[in-house]
Amino acid sequence: MQEESKKHICVHCGDDCGSHPVIWDEKPFCCNGCSTVYQILHENELCTYYDFESNPGIKIEAGKYKEKFAFLDDNEIAEQLYEFAEGNIRKITLYIPSIHCSSCIWLLEHLNILNQGVIKSMVNFVKKEVAITFNSDEISIRELAELLSSIHYIPEITLDKLQLKQNEEVNKSLLYKIGIAGFCFGNIMLLSLPEYVPGHEYLETHFKEFFGMMNFFLVLPVFFYSGSDYLLSAGKAIKHKFINIDVPISMGILMLFIQSSIEIFSGSGAGYMDSLTGLIFFLLIGKWYQNRTYQALSFERDYRSYFPVAVSKLENGIEISTPIEKLEKGDIILIRNQELIPADGILMKGEAQIDYSFVTGESKPVFKESGDAVFAGGKQMGSAIELTIEKDVIQSRLTQLWNQFEGEDSSNTKLNSLIDQISKYFTIVIIAIGLFAGIYWLINDSGKAVFAFTSVLIVACPCALALSAPFAMGNTMRLMGRMGIYLKSSAVVEKLNSITTIVFDKTGTITQADEVKVKFHGDALSDDDKIAVKSLTRHSTHVLSSTLYEFYKSIPPETVADYTELPSMGISGTINGRKIKLGSAKFIREGKTETSSLNTEVYLSADGKIKGHFSLSNQYRTGLSELINELAPKYDLHILSGDNDSEMENLKQIFPTTSIIRFNQSPNDKLEYINNLKKQNKCVLMIGDGLNDAGALKTSDVGISIADDIYHFSPACDAILEASKFQELKYFLKISAKSVWIVKLSFILSFLYNLFGLYFAVQGILSPIVAALLMPISSISVVAFATFTTNYIAKSKEINNKTKSNIKEAKTSVFLKKSVQLN
């Protein structure tokens, strides 16, 4: 039988079809979902989809979308989603995380073949968005969402997205500024060139005047538009009585502008307009590089992005789709299979199996009966339930975790930044040197005094200094992204370097959420027993059952008679004439007391005789102990777990004796724990996964959220780490340390250039050509140094990793390279 079932690969999604593939059109599919999608595409002659990539399809977990998009019928919500609405034409942009290859683009842009109501659809691959223009007379927005879901592209519509309009405009205005600065820079260079070639003294004066005036007019847009951010930021900083890097830059810009204008209008020289525009042009490019982030990833998710936009409210027995912010205490709501509970409430009707994995990280569902309290963030598994809401959405236990942070600004971290610390001293020293030179010349040759002072400020303008950090950090961030950790911004690189303490969450972070180690204790199981377990578990949807079912993968199940399932107790049935029971100790031993164990155990009995029990324990991530061994000498390690302490012994073997392990931690406990560590002046790195870590991730200095699918459900954090790259954490920490070191080296390099320039400036002999040469040479060489060295460091680490990682991992990294882009 086993030989017969050759490996079939699903035509749609590429998964293994198992022993019973769904056959349609003589092609194997792993599930009905995939074959339906294939059929839809086939009927509409869209099978070209499969030509671009082999097995491009997305597989979705079985779930019904019947009512999921019902809220879109609510006009009020729909109106908020439209970007454009006039007559019957609507335009909407939907975020679809499953966009991942060229076939996706092709299919999504041919939606009008599937439905005539779609007028135009356009994919933005980088942001994983599709902009759809449609005729609302022919297709409603709900139908559109359902159409997308039917071909496995499920749009993610959340409240978060409704309220947040991206900072696209900021990005665009930066590009405008760069364009204008570049244009003026190029032209001013051209017009200034005659001044620099030998024999310029023979240049006719009206040419000189003309070039000078051209330069002056060209510099105006650069000074007032492109460079305005630096001047404004410096002004703000001085107002608040601190000095950032923009202060010395603005001093340089102002001095360049004033000095050059005076020279041009008095006819005494050509001025430094080329240096000024070049300076601003290079600085803006640095800023652009620094601002490049992973647009498709979301680092700012709060509870709103987890919750549905609306739920079904029951009013006199009639279902009404209601936006969740309109829910009030006392409302009765209906929660279906796989739906999230939006507010704390009391169960009224139905049997609830609630999966709190978002909240606690614990994946085993909790059983609740009518009258029990249920909390927001849980996901119902099984039949629909009815709840009476006890607290408003924003007041539920879960959402309050976030409310603590509201109004809190992240800008205070900027103060600690390496470059701002340096620029404080830098500015003071430069002003001192300038004054000293000015005073010296005032005594010896008063004509040169002002010129010497301004020259010092001009030449010391820390362009190279300001560029080194953005390029070194930005490049490191890009390289780390390639290796599987996605940083929110390049500033995180710097923060990673100062980490002293690492706090791990247990479930889902150091353990693999979906893999469980199964072990049987008791008499050896015969083949019949194994078949019985397999057959019995096939009928249950409980997580433990499906784990056991998976455990006996290769055994064929048989038919079960008199199958019964007692919630939170166990399952029983008759297989081959034997009565088999599987479940909790209480269920098997029929109420007899026994020694309680903290491990998850499933007991088995056949014909009333207890065979033994399965123990299910967490599987630790591969490479965990190596990682801990490497980290232990350098960092304080802590573990915070929401679970009971059944894993204590295992953890003690892996972690050094000095590390602190805490169990039964509520989300709030975790947050407080991090706060306490911070109070002891420790720089804390928190690694977690679920919503239960969200508070802790946010308070920590660097919060890393670990995720199997980086596009889904990661709480607000500073970085997202691919779960498969967990053991490479030590490299990431090392690379961040090295790149901070490189930034420091670049600082020294740029100081050397400054010293060289100051040599001319203090003597009062700074000529425009020295300034014009020094500025781009220093900037470009520092940028090149920063980029090449960070590349080199990351390369050498990457080679180390490559040899260790297996082919599968290499494959995933190729896939991700394609799909995650900086923008």
């Binding site: 002659e45 092709w106 665009k172």
Partner: protein, 69 residues
């Protein structure tokens, strides 16, 4: 030598044209997504059979509609 004034004027105009082009491209969002256009350009080659002629017609109609709107 005064021809230089004219030449500089012309060169500024040409360069200004490129600047306007760049600003227009940014405004139109051409830099927002640098991946999908590279794939999109390959799509039309896949259309072949007679049936697809119909669909082309439909597509044309819909794009017309779109222009109108």
């Amino acid at each position: 030598m005064s021809v230089l004034f004219v030449l500089i004027g012309v060169s500024m105009l040409v360069a200004g044209g490129f600047l306007v082009g760049f600003l227009w491209a940014v405004k139109k969002g051409q830099y927002d997504d640098s991946y999908s256009p590279s794939v999109r350009i390959l799509f039309d080659d896949q259309e072949n059979e007679a049936q697809k002629e119909e669909k082309k017609q439909i597509e044309k109609d819909t794009t017309k509609k779109n222009h109108k709107s």
